[in-house]
Amino acid sequence: MRIVVAMKAVPDLVEEIELTPDETDIDREYLKFVLNEWDDQALEEALLVKDATGAEVVAVGLADDPDIDQALYTAIAKGADGAVMLEGGGADTHSRAAAFAEYLAKEPADLVITGVQAPDDLDGQLAPMLAARLGQRHVSVVVGVEAKDGNVVVRQEFSGGRAHVLELPLPAVIGLQASRETPRYAPITRIRQAMQAGGVRGESVSTDVASSGLSVRRMFRPEQTSHAEMLEGDVDDIADKILELLRERGMVKG
């Protein structure tokens, strides 16, 4: 089985994020970029499948993402069999999906796993768009992928503690919410070795085949509200106060 993990580098959220002077984008100049944490989970899940079945795992990213090479070498250090860096493709999710699809047409995968979302794609569009472009099955918000008799069994979680277990034939695209285990640690020595061995391969794809057609007019920083009210009294008092507050704000009726 060949598993491709589609990856994205995103700004490290511990950094203070600034806007560009025209306020239509964040200022990427001094930002540190790290692997999208859901993609890290996707990689872990792929490696778990590899550990269980001996599948081949390939990490793929876009060369335009800052510091993506770091993430790709780290993937190799963790146990991926290879990594590919795509030259071309645009920044928004539509063109990312197009770029990945173009690559996958050339080097098809049995299973594509990607993070269900990213800090700049909270709608989780990449997995469904990619599946649509590839004409393959798709499941998102998945919390576990296991191979079974040529199919995959995935677990999909919903709010309220409900879950689906689905079995689907391959090929398929999975948007992963959480891996079964905490993503493994890549020792620096191994990352260095991977860099020395130079296991990341470049591939070119066409640029801007399909942008979303949307343009950003203005970005705003989130409003800061740092107001907290401590409720005092015994348990009943506090419960009453909470209820009252919820009623006041129209969150519960009656």
């Binding site: 490290d12 511990v14 020792p187 620096i188 020595t189």
Partner: protein
């Protein structure tokens, strides 16, 4: 009777093989030769095992210990020991005087008796036989004055050995100090038994005692049988014992019979003992002197790098260990001193440095066909140290990963070990394998990840490192931009931890007011990597160190001082190997200098306090005096806790433990320490390490002693004692909203 008639002069002597007869003598020689063969075979096997280890580069230590500095360590524990210290049993008497004196008696008693036997062999088997061959007649020096002096020395030294041994047996059997019970810290699921080890100890003591006793009985029977020749009074113990036998009516003839029976018993015991040396606890007699001579405590301060040419990371087979590390394993006498002081063991964690060494020893033996007769643990499920042929990895199998992760690298085990074992480097080498396999706490993993992306374990942006300086009403110089005298290496905790930034602010204000020319590296600083290295993440350590070194090289300064003892250790001892040698001070040393020279005028505080020595400051780097002198200069009365100075008890945070879960511990080391402090009747607990402030403030709360004990960094005492105070830092904190 052999040879008596041929002796040239009838002088004071005794017959060597009295009553044994020629056949007996032949039997004795055959059995002795076989025994010596067994001894050398066993010893050869051990040496062969050590030779499978890597180079340890300890020959310079050996030379120093023998020739250049033969009295090193006799009076004070230093990094290395010496032949003088071995002779004086300094390492044994340290911290356990009674046991040390008893051991000294046994040690010298045994050596004297051994030398006595060698002298006798030289006379009997070489001088007499050679002289018979060459000059045709037997000559001997074992007579006259020589014999008398010989007798008196051997008799008394043997007796001191009896006394020493009696005390040691009494201690082991009746006093039963906790450290001598062999209960494991980590209880294997399938059960275990160490009764053979206990038996082995008693066989060792018992054999030795029996050899001494039969020796004296033999002497007494001989004296009775030969009718108390007057010169035999120079064997006083035998003489008195002989008189005793005479008094209870032992006849000369019966004494003769008893003599020959005892002779054979004595010989059999002695030969058994010799043959058993390489296969039992007795091997420590040969190995431990060597281990002490090649010991070097500084290996803990600057850890050895991973094996350079290994194809794998971490220790996976015997040949990954250095010969010193392998020798360490066999050297352990199970004295339990490390077991007793270990903070992990005290806290109920599954680690005892003694067990770790014993397990590795047994594993090494099991995998090299090494045989110990009794000195080993048994387990029904043959796990852990009993595994053979790579059935289980060393790190994570033979020694469980929980055990390895429990170590705080506090170095207390190495400090107290009387036989020069260096546990910590071995533990770190094993941890390197665990890191490579990703076998670690998720919280540790997160910390390492943060350290690799942002250079601090808090996961905060590297650019926020100097943010705490916004709480100051002056700007600290940027040493990368302008020259300063002192470069302050602030460290992670003092920079990022909200609770500790006030310490940094206070220190900065004091130094600024005193006119000290200092600067910091601002966002150029990274975690120094001390604990990262001790976690076993060598690659990350190299990355952090190289980053810091580049930053240091870009800055202009004369000397460094640090607030963090952990950073101090690696900057002082490990950065030089990477090409960065600087003079590195701890802030207590700097403050002391400023107070003593009057640059900082202080008034007397008159407070009663106790002081906690951070492991990495006191034990690792010997800085115990500066903080004490500083307290004195501030007019504080220092009440010492029982464990202080180099014997200080670890707070539990070192070696990366601060990034791991400690909720499973029965009693956190920091809680144990706070209870110790309460016991000396003070309510001010003074520390000089930022991590300690956090660790002990928490411990005061979790032990329910809030209000009973105040944990304070020494810098606040200085601040309180200032006669011309800068504005209260509290005001500033509020003003700037830090």
């Amino acid at each position: 009777m052999a040879f008596t008639g041929v002796l040239a002069v009838e002088e004071e002597t005794r017959e060597v093989f009295m009553n044994v007869g020629t056949a007996g003598e032949i039997i004795f020689y055959v059995v002795s030769t076989l025994t010596i063969g067994v001894f050398f075979w066993g010893s050869y096997r051990r040496v062969k095992k050590y030779r499978r280890g890597r180079a340890a580069f300890r020959m310079a230590n050996l030379k120093k210990a023998l020739f250049a500095n033969p009295f090193q360590g006799v009076r004070r524990r230093e990094d290395t020991w010496s032949v003088g210290a071995v002779a004086a049993n300094s390492s044994v008497a340290r911290r356990d005087r009674a046991a040390g004196i008893a051991h000294f008696f046994v040690f010298w008693g045994f050596i004297t008796l051994f030398i006595g036997t060698v002298i006798l062999t030289i006379d009997y088997d070489i001088v007499r036989k050679a002289s018979k061959l060459i000059v045709g007649e037997e000559m001997s020096f074992f007579q006259g004055t020589f014999y008398i002096v010989y007798s008196v020395i051997l008799d008394t030294m043997g007796f001191t050995a009896v006394l020493g041994l009696a005390y040691l047996a009494f201690r082991r059997g009746a006093i039963r100090p906790k450290k001598l019970d062999y209960e494991r810290a980590e209880k294997p699921e399938g059960g275990y038994s160490r009764s053979k080890i206990v038996l082995g100890d008693w066989v060792f003591i018992g054999l030795f005692a029996a050899i001494l006793a039969t020796g004296y009985f033999l002497e007494a029977f001989r004296i009775v049988a030969t009718g108390f020749p007057s010169f035999e009074v120079w064997s006083p113990v035998g003489w008195v014992l002989g008189r005793g036998f005479e008094a209870v009516g032992l006849s000369t003839a019966a004494a003769g019979t008893a003599q020959i029976i005892t002779w054979w018993t004595h010989a059999a015991l002695a030969l058994t003992f010799v043959g058993m040396i390489p296969f039992s606890k007795a091997m420590h007699m040969l190995l431990d002197g060597v281990n002490l001579l090649v010991h070097d405590r500084s290996s803990v301060r600057h850890l050895p790098a991973p094996p350079p040419e290994a194809e794998h990371v971490g220790y996976q087979e015997l040949s990954d260990f250095t010969w010193k590390e392998l020798l360490d394993l066999d050297a352990c006498t199970k004295c339990g001193r490390c077991h007793e002081v270990c903070p992990a063991r005290t806290a109920g964690a599954p680690l005892s440095p003694r067990d770790l060494i014993l397990d590795l020893r047994q594993w090494a033996d099991a995998n090299t066909g090494g045989i110990t007769l009794l000195d080993h643990e048994t387990r029904p499920d043959r796990t852990g140290p009993l595994t053979v042929d790579h059935e289980a990895p060393i790190a994570g199998g033979v020694i469980s990963s929980r055990t390895l992760w429990s170590c705080t690298t506090c170095m207390h085990c190495v400090e107290v070990c009387p036989v020069g074992i260096e546990h910590v480097p071995t533990i770190v080498q094993l941890r390197r394998g665990l890191v490579d396999q990703g076998d670690m706490d998720p919280t540790l993993q997160t910390a390492l990840k943060n350290l690799s992306t942002q250079g601090n374990s808090f996961g905060k942006s590297a650019r926020m490192r100097a943010r705490w300086t916004k709480g100051l009403d002056f700007k600290i110089k940027d040493a990368r931009k302008e020259p300063v005298k002192y470069l302050w290496f602030v460290g992670d905790f003092a920079s990022f931890d909200d609770r500790l930034q006030a310490n940094s602010i206070a220190l900065a204000r004091i130094l600024n007011a005193a006119g000290v020319d200092f600067g910091i590296l601002y966002e150029g600083e990274r975690n120094a990597g001390n604990d990262v290295r001790r976690v076993g993440e060598e690659g990350l350590f190299e990355m952090l160190a190289d980053h810091n070194i580049a930053a240091l090289e870009s800055a202009q300064f004369e000397e460094i001082f640090t607030t963090d003892p952990h950073s101090l250790n690696t900057l002082r001892n490990e950065y030089p190997e990477r090409g960065a040698s600087y003079k590195v001070w701890h802030y207590t040393e700097l403050l002391l200098d400023l107070v003593e020279s009057g640059t900082i005028p202080v008034r007397s505080l008159g407070q009663k306090v106790t002081y906690h020595d951070p492991c990495y400051l006191g034990r690792y780097n010997g800085v115990t005096e500066a903080p004490r002198k500083l307290l004195k200069a501030l007019g504080c009365e220092l009440v010492e806790m029982p464990r202080n100075g180099a014997n200080s008890f670890c707070c539990g945070a070192g070696g990366g433990r601060i990034w791991m879960d400690d909720s499973f511990l029965e009693e956190r080391p920091s809680e144990n320490r706070i209870r110790e402090a309460l016991g000396v009747g003070v309510d001010k607990f003074i520390v000089s390490c930022p991590k300690d402030v956090t660790m002990y403030s928490d411990a005061v709360k979790t032990t329910g002693n809030e209000g009973q004990m105040e944990v304070r960094d020494i810098v606040f005492l200085v601040q309180e004692a200032l006669t011309n105070k800068p504005a209260e830092p509290g005001d500033l904190l509020e003003r700037t909203g830090v």
